[in-house]
Amino acid sequence: MIFSYYPGCTLKTKAKDLDRYGRKSAEALGITLEEIPNWQCCGGVYPISKDEIATKLSSVRALASAKEAGQDLVTLCSACHNVLKQVNNDMANDEEICAKANRYLELEEEYHGETNVIHYLEMLRDKVGFDKIKELVKNPFTGKKIGAYYGCLLLRPGKVLQMDNPENPKIMEDFIRAIGGTPVIYPMRNECCGGYVTLEDKALANKRSGKVLENAKDMGADMLITACPLCLYNLNKNTDGYDVPVYYFTELLAEALGVKD
């Protein structure tokens, strides 16, 4: 299976592990991730305002590039996934945004939201299959109690992202089972860590991340997994004595598949 792949800015810098282990695992699963040539940063947060056009164009370029290659577009970072899917939704359903973006870009062929964007976890679930992954696991996380931390960007808005039930998700729990671990379900798993506001308001990020970690610890999690570099940062910076290490899910996948060096 071959997919177009959009790594995003952070996976080339502070979140190299998320990318590296994702690529190694994909290879082990027989998947080829073809990085889109000359991709540009998605901007980190979806520009919500309807009259914001220029800020949506980098996403449209990536989407159009995958369309040209005739491939589904895989993303790994929660934020890129959120921005690309929401912009894609605009291009498919908002005539004004679509017309303005196309007029600006003057692509060889107009883009109208044709590309199918999937998160890496969706690729594991829908293209590979968790059962298949289970068979390929060499080093299972037997006995490990692992909490899935979804945060906000993977799931919401549910109607647009269509990844899983935004209030009662199970894709990451199913992933944890596939690699042999025991999922720990805790209520704060889909609440915000404090996001980018951590830059100017450390106290807010501390409070939000602390609540997540406290709740995960109370419910018995040994560790958490995430797909978001900013969640990882906020949770690691605000441990407040809660001893719950946080890992990228791709790191655990690579370890389970025996391809982590």
């Binding site: 995003g8 800015c9 952070t10 810098t13 502070k14 979140a15 940063c41 901007g43 980190g44 947060v45 979806y46 520009p47 919500i48 305002s49 309807k50 009259d51 914001e52 800020t55 970072c77 934020a79 945060g151 906000c152 960007l153 799931l155 919401r156 808005p157 549910g158 935004p166 209030e167 609440e191 915000c192 404090g194 996001g195 980018y196 506001v197 951590t198 830059l199 100017e200 308001d201 807010l204 409070k207 939000r208 978001c228 570099p229 900013l230 990882l232 940062y233 690691n236 910076k237």
Partner: protein, 128 residues
Amino acid sequence: MNRKDKQEQILRMSGVNARKCMRCGKCSATCPAYDEMEYHPHQFVYMVESGNIEPLFESESIYKCLTCFACVERCPRDVQPAKLIEAVRVMALRQQDNTHMKKGDLPMMLDEDIPQQAIVSAFRKYTK
């Protein structure tokens, strides 16, 4: 721009129909930045609906929204308050010289682990 024009522009930019709000307060109850806000999500909705927008422009509350989409997801009437907050913020930032993050502020906010994702997000949310 008069009060009515401002209100219309915010409604147009956000695509929100504030009249659908039934004042249940679920948006504010679920908001992770509630404590840090002077005006809370449900207040944004009725202040925009009634055209009382000027206090929102002046308030730090517009920079506290985390864009986590919790209020968007959980509103039983699909009002989507975060879209209104964003429209007010974008309109405020578009005023000349009205940037929330000044040149030179950024280096002080960084540490060696901060992911680029946070920095590009801050540029998008705090500047024009």
